[in-house]
């Protein structure tokens, strides 16, 4: 008898081992998440109520909720915040699309051609190790304070994970799969389109998920540094006015945009890579 199991006698000679299920395992997920939420907010409330932290640094849950409702009302009634959110949404959308296009093409170049692997890849790796946000002033100088400089920065950041994952995906086909296609007399194009790309799809989607996170970071950083009319500018404005509850509320709504993009990618993956069972099993994809 081990610590983790209980030993129950059920009739003569019959031994039944009942595995002990821990409390957290037997709890539904929503309940576990809700519990953690209540505890966290409770601690938060306590900290602000006791005046341990200045309200400028950490506003109380009540203030934050009030601002959440205020911002939510502004968004739903089509106020200036909705316009800002729409600007950021457009930035993110175009940046993601551009990163997808360029990243995929570069990924194929690197993964499929010797030239790409030998000549292009080293440069990509070198640029990838740079802090890409540092390019923001350059993009602003080149493209101005409008939406395009933000799109450029966000796309720039999101391109690299797509390149890397696409190239890795193209390497993923096994030796016997390549041999099979060779034996069938497949052309290079056929091998690429009918074997390597489909095999690489799960890898590419992993890159897309990283890109979805990067494109949000890029867009907001761009709006912090380059002004304009987006949600990032709104956040910066509130922060400079020490309106911390507003900043909290804005960040929460902004994260909804990030989640939307991320789960669109997850949804697309489930539709397209329908044969990949392991990916399906994972809770958040």
């Amino acid at each position: 008898m081990t610590d983790a199991t209980q030993h129950i006698d059920a009739g003569e000679g019959d031994t039944v081992w009942v595995e002990e299920v821990s409390l957290i395992d037997s709890m539904p997920r929503w309940l576990a998440m809700g519990l953690l939420f209540v505890v966290a907010v409770g601690i938060w409330d306590l900290v602000t109520r006791m005046g341990w932290v200045s309200p400028i640094i950490l506003p109380s849950p009540g203030e934050t909720l009030a601002d959440l409702i205020f911002v939510g009302r502004n968004l739903f009634t089509g106020g200036y915040m909705l316009e800002a959110l729409w600007t950021t949404t457009q930035t993110v959308f175009w940046a993601f699309l551009i990163a997808l296009g360029i990243g995929f093409l570069l990924g194929v170049l690197v993964g499929e051609t010797k030239f790409g692997e030998r000549a292009v890849l080293p440069y990509l790796v070198a640029i990838d190790t740079m802090p890409k946000v540092a390019f923001a002033p350059l993009f602003i100088a080149w493209l101005g304070f409008g939406i395009s400089s933000k799109v450029a920065l966000a796309a720039f950041i999101a391109t690299f994970p797509i390149v890397v994952s696409t190239a890795a995906g193209l390497y993923a086909a096994s030796e016997s799969e390549r041999m099979l296609f060779k034996a069938m007399g497949a052309t290079r194009m056929q091998t690429l389109l009918r074997l390597k790309l489909p095999i690489g799809l799960p890898y590419m989607f992993t890159g897309l998920k990283i890109a979805a996170v990067g494109v949000m970071a890029g867009a907001i950083t761009g709006e912090f540094l380059g002004g304009g009319k987006g949600f990032g500018a709104l956040i910066r404005q509130s922060a400079s006015q020490m309106d911390t509850p507003r900043v909290f509320a804005l960040i929460l709504y902004l994260s909804l945009l990030g989640l939307l993009l991320y789960f669109t990618v997850v949804w697309a993956q489930r539709r397209i890579v329908f044969w990949n069972k392991e990916e399906r099993a994972g809770g958040l994809g």
Partner: protein
């Protein structure tokens, strides 16, 4: 049991020697990358309808030989003739099968089987071959699984499906590189008997690479024993057990004698 050094055509039971299908002579292969001599002066003939196995220690060049025969890898010296024409690249009259089934998971079983047709002749030809694919699937007992995705097939079923894929283009020869070695022993025995039946029904000429002596003896008309470093043919052993072969033959003294003889050859090489 007749044993022949480089094979004077004393073919077991049938006394009229069949037409040669594969003629390999003076074949050598040195891998440029590491200057490794994988094959040295291999000469071999496969006759129509014959089942030949190759056995030898790991790394003696069996897969290399098979890849050259399939036109997947060029030889350094020597020549390979199939049906009177030199093999200079992949050909549709060569069927090949590897250790892994490698069915494409995004295509149904039957779509996987017509894939060679689709690649060579396009979608329309593949569609026309569907009925034939279904017949083949029925032949290996997978008729009900035609429209299922490979993720739902067991290892043995997947290998049976890849047999069908190999047969769809009606190849003149079958090249098999340890096709069942990833399967459990019971499934493997069953698959070997299936393979024998399919070869009889399609009158195919087959060349099997294997690590299992019992498997080689039970299936083959002739076993090519190879030695390593450099890869050479050590001896060719004729297996004149009656056909059709059954698994019970493993217990006969004749079977035991053949196995003992080949094991002796392999042990002697290992001792050197």
């Amino acid at each position: 049991m007749t044993m022949a050094k480089p094979c004077p055509a004393a073919v077991g039971a049938t006394s009229t020697p069949a037409r040669p299908v594969y003629e390999i002579s003076g074949l050598s292969k040195t891998y440029a990358r590491n200057r490794l001599v994988a094959l040295d002066d291999v000469t071999l003939t496969l006759r129509e309808g014959e089942f030949v196995s190759v056995i030898g220690s790991s790394g003696c060049g069996k897969s290399t030989l098979l890849k050259i025969m399939a036109g997947l890898s060029p030889p350094t010296r020597g020549r390979v003739m199939l049906e009177g024409r030199p093999v200079q690249g992949p050909r549709s009259d060569i069927g090949i099968m590897f250790q892994q089934a490698t069915l494409l998971p995004w295509k149904t079983t039957i779509e996987n089987i017509v894939l060679p047709i689709e690649i060579r002749e396009g979608k329309a030809a593949a569609k026309a071959a569907m009925q034939k694919a279904l017949d083949l699937l029925t032949l290996v007992g997978l008729g009900d699984f035609a429209h299922v995705y490979p993720g739902e097939l067991s290892g043995g079923m997947a290998q049976r499906a890849s047999i069908c894929r190999m047969l769809i283009a009606e190849p003149a020869v079958l090249l098999l590189d340890e096709p069942f070695s990833a399967l459990d022993e019971l499934t493997r025995d069953f698959m070997n008997m299936e393979l024998q039946r399919i070869c009889r029904e399609t009158k195919a000429t087959a060349f099997l690479v294997t690590h299992s002596l019992a498997e080689a003896v039970i299936l083959s008309d002739r076993i090519v024993v190879m030695r390593a470093r450099p890869g050479r043919v050590m001896e060719e052993v004729e297996i004149d057990l009656p056909r059709p072969r059954t698994l019970e033959m493993i217990n006969t003294p004749k079977f035991g004698a053949i196995v003992a003889h080949i094991r002796g050859l392999l042990d002697r090489e290992a001792a050197e």
